[in-house]
Symmetry: C2
Subunit: 357 residues, 2 copies
Amino acid sequence: MDKQKKSNKQYGIKEIAKRANVSIATVDRVIHNRTGVAQKTKEKIQKIIKEIDYQPNLLASRLKSNKEFVLAVLIPKVSENTNFWEAPYNGILKAKEEIEKYGVIFKTFLFELSNKDSFMESAIALLDENVDGILMAPSFVKEAEQVVKIYEKEKIPYLFIDSNIAANGSITYIGPNLYHSGFVGAQLTKYVLHNEKDEILVTNISKTDTNIDNLKQIEKGFSDYITTNKIHNRLQSIAIKDGDYNQFKTELDSFLEINPNIKSIFVTNSRVFSIARYLKETNRRNITLIGFDFIAENVKYLKEGVIDFLICHKPEEQGYRGIMSLYHHLILMQKVEKTQFMPIDIVTKENCDFYPN
Amino acid sequence: MDKQKKSNKQYGIKEIAKRANVSIATVDRVIHNRTGVAQKTKEKIQKIIKEIDYQPNLLASRLKSNKEFVLAVLIPKVSENTNFWEAPYNGILKAKEEIEKYGVIFKTFLFELSNKDSFMESAIALLDENVDGILMAPSFVKEAEQVVKIYEKEKIPYLFIDSNIAANGSITYIGPNLYHSGFVGAQLTKYVLHNEKDEILVTNISKTDTNIDNLKQIEKGFSDYITTNKIHNRLQSIAIKDGDYNQFKTELDSFLEINPNIKSIFVTNSRVFSIARYLKETNRRNITLIGFDFIAENVKYLKEGVIDFLICHKPEEQGYRGIMSLYHHLILMQKVEKTQFMPIDIVTKENCDFYPN
DNA sequence: ATATCTTTCGGTAACGTTACCGATATAATT
DNA sequence: AATTATATCGGTAACGTTACCGAAAGATAT
């Protein structure tokens, strides 16, 4: 249990200085390519750096230059509609705990998922705060594209989580591959269809028209799978407005009356629990239900056996990795992957207790 | 984008010394409760430490005390039978890359899964190497219990990954909850059974008798699920010896001839690919196949559609978290959870490309 | 009383890096 | 030729902690 001094010695700035016959100050200058070094000296030092494969000691570096980095977090509020964003926020808090001791401070800007203006407000407000990097959920495509242009002009690095937009200035995208998530939904549906006349219902439930793009991708994945796998069961697709439950109920009642062979319902967003509530209250236990996201209401119905499968994308990890990617990019100055797809997890009644959000 | 000095100031050892009217050396002594401090002084300093909620600066601490820590890794070789252990080892390498810059060095001791003696040899050999902590796979229960006693006598901390044994001296256990994994297998089986006379086969395939305990737990979970969910399909359980494929084939041929209604096969370990090969070659595509572990051969058959579901436990992360837990425990001296169950992941043809091993 | 030991504590170099301050040499300007 | 500007570089304090060395004071033994 006794410790020895390092044997496999890592050379430092001092060794470089000795070999190049200059002071450590000069070495420091070329490492951070500051001005004031003759070209010849510079090249000589750079050569030695490569030779000994110099790796800066991050401990010492961060200890000395004890600077603050300000990270902005721009994500939706936990709303009455869905507490989906609780999970990414928890991941962010976890990352925060891990790195704030290294002088990173956080400023959070929340917006309402039902309100584009509130998104714009927060996205702009953040500019006054002198932030060094931004983690954002580009929930409103058009608006996000606008603000991103401003961030680029101000030279503030940013990244996206949960959903992506076409902006190749972003450090990275961290979130699901929605098209393939549709595949998985369709595959699971395939297993629960037992005969030819069983019918499938694909639906999305929403109040406002956010993220239409996302839903379209999932639906496309779903129907492409059905087509390429030659599944001939009838497939219908409807959109249901969420709001008053009674209205919701009448809408479904009449639909299922006209279509009594619906055997499986696939909901393309996290509002599955609404359907689950309906199925439970109307006692339609022969319909299997598949949807998205590990949120409390969904898990409740999953455990009761009303929801059969939840497809999830590690929301907490999205937040965590978002912050860590910012940290790696702009503090440690390491390379980060341009897109980081999350796993497409299948959660059931039996494995949900072991699902690490 | 400019950086300011820290505002929310963290007090250090110097501030404590000033307030207690002693030198920083004395403060250091009580922090590491070394000897040579009068009781009164000690208490005074401890009070101040609590008051200002002193958090040691890990950067400075690790920078100064630049000690080597030696970690031993005791896991099975990647064998010709299964390359399952490639994944945990990759996780270990990943963790290694991350922390070896902080003076952690690794010594790897491999053993053969088919040979208890080779396990004991490696487990003992490691004692000569003056290691500070051990990550081990206790693949042989009896033998592991023995060596663990030695480790405890030598006061070398250790932890288990992949499978657990009754040794409460371990830092932590990182691995699956096998009983619940059996549940998940059974649940998936339930979905693929379409009528009453479909029959289920549960089997394990092995050369030697390693980890019988593990298999038993999975089987128990499986059958308990079947019982409690009142699934009345007939269930049979057999053990198949792996080795010569022809013998394997005749064994299965005769079994399936006697039992033509087998609709679903559940394999309790990673050798599913053997059954998959058989099903493919004999063209029995109407039997669904469920098994364990994300290894190359299994994934191949998963993509071909021969295997329907793979249940996995993030083997790579097991290795990664194993090393990181050692690091946290004995270098950072932080608390680690006593058991860390891995998620029970369901991998299919459609989501396997996004499965982070 | 002197010598020796023990307890308690302070001073301080060092870890590898950063960045400021100023020194020296060379070039440009008057 | 004297002055000023510029390019190039070295010296060094500091970041917060660790741990060694020895000082001072008190306790014990001779």
